[in-house]
Amino acid sequence: MTFGTMLTTMAEGMLKTILLFVLTLVGSLPLGMLVVFLKKSKFKPVAWLTDIYIAIMRGTPLMLQLLVWYFGPYYLFGMSIRGYKFPALLIGFIMNYAAYFAEIYRSGIDSMPVGQYEAAEILGYTKLQTFMRIILPQVIKRILPSVTNEVITLVKDTSLASALAYAEVFSLAKQISASQTSFLPFVIAGVFYFVANYVVAWIMNRIEKSMQYYK
């Protein structure tokens, strides 16, 4: 296998990795916010269930969670899991990252001085207006560094999809390396992750800079 064919074979895996990465973010970033609202729910059972969910997501390996999401329907309900691999991966990643993002959002929201809420209330803002216009913009600025860390971790965590033999870049690298007895696929995969994270860091840095107009 030439370097060229190796690269094109792996390029397909790179696209799958990127797809998994992007869809996980698209799902988990907003879902994390929903999780915070559930956690802060005044209806206690909802708050408790949310706490349990977060504890499980953070307390068990993501790889194990992926296996449970994928094989669970078959072992628990005898359902066919053909064609279910990618949805299972997405559910697993989104549910896991939503829990982490929720904790980041919560710490950001809790760090807001109460005076901001009170000033908004005196001016007659509704709860929703207060959150959307006063609290959230400031929270986003505060949590951006933590979110960046999490996103960079996600780039690397996509390799866990290999546990379900999903043909993303890491799985392919392992396969090709074994069949071709070559070290090169690992180098290609390594460069890919590195470049991907470089791009992520650059984008996040731009966003952070765009919010530096106030302290």
Partner: protein, 274 residues
């Protein structure tokens, strides 16, 4: 007929006249406790249109709590709060406190503004946006019209050139003046101040007090919690001395400062002179 004579008598005496202005705020029998701690014990406070009332008293006497109850940041545990004949909060015979419904509450909330010790400007909004957002979003007023008024307010605060700055680039005194402009932009009937200069250096304090004095001359109705005794003596029509959750003494500033009738007032004022 007798009413007529009363009115005529009042017009002869200017201080009497100011006392007959419309009642903007009437708080009666206000009780508030945090856990077992009784912070307000049966407070009565009436503020009339055009009046400037100063509230003084030692730390922990309940001054902030009283303002926070008046502005609904805290819920009272007993008593009655009335803004311009609208009952915001009442207490039943069994001692249960009722606040009026959402719609009326929204209306009542437009009667007052509050200036905080820590300014509490919105740091992510420019100075102009800090002032304009609430009139536009809450009162749904025309943006262009609001902007004109906001710029006029900034001019009045001596901050015309700061419209596009962000709060973090302003001094404390400038931030507090923006906060006052933000409150005034809502055109409140009464403006509350909770130690508006306590977070400021002396030279910055002066510029904020100057603005408040100017508002007093324009007959803005104000309730000011302050530790600036000479300012309170100068600017207010009435001074209230609070201690331990009760109003110990209340009256004309000349009387309260010059010739206090209560021993506790004397001692408190003495501690300030030292």
């Amino acid at each position: 007929m007798s009413e007529m004579t009363e009115k005529e008598m009042n017009t002869e005496n200017s201080t009497e006249q100011s006392l007959t202005g419309r009642e903007v705020l009437k708080m009666t029998g206000i009780k508030k406790q945090f856990g077992d701690l009784e912070v307000l014990k049966n407070i009565n406070l009436c503020v009339r249109h055009g009046e400037v009332v100063s509230i003084i008293g030692p730390s922990g006497s309940g001054k902030s709590t009283l303002l926070r109850c008046a502005t609904f940041l805290e819920k009272i545990d007993g008593g009655e709060i009335i803004y311009l004949d609208k009952k915001a909060a009442t207490t039943s015979h069994s001692g249960k406190v009722f606040y009026t419904g959402k719609a009326e509450m929204k209306e009542i909330k437009q009667y007052f503004g509050l200036v905080f010790q820590q300014f509490n400007l919105f740091p992510h909004h420019s100075v102009l946006k800090n002032i304009m957002e609430a009139p536009v979003r809450v009162l749904k007023r025309d943006r262009a019209e609001v902007e004109k008024e906001a710029r006029a307010l900034l001019e009045k605060m001596g901050l015309a050139d700061k419209a596009d700055q962000y709060p973090c680039n302003l001094s404390g005194g400038q931030q507090q003046r923006v906060a006052i402009a933000r409150a005034l932009a809502m055109k409140p009937e009464v403006l509350f101040f909770d130690e508006p200069t306590s977070a400021l250096d002396p030279e910055l304090t002066i510029e904020v007090l100057k603005i408040i004095r100017q508002l007093a001359e324009e007959k803005m109705t104000m309730v000011i919690v302050t530790h600036e005794m000479s300012f309170a003596a100068n600017v207010s029509n009435r001074v209230i001395f609070m201690d331990g959750g009760v109003i110990v003494e209340e009256g004309d500033p000349k009387e309260v400062f010059g010739n206090p009738s209560q021993e506790r007032t004397k001692q408190f004022l003495k501690s300030y002179k030292e």
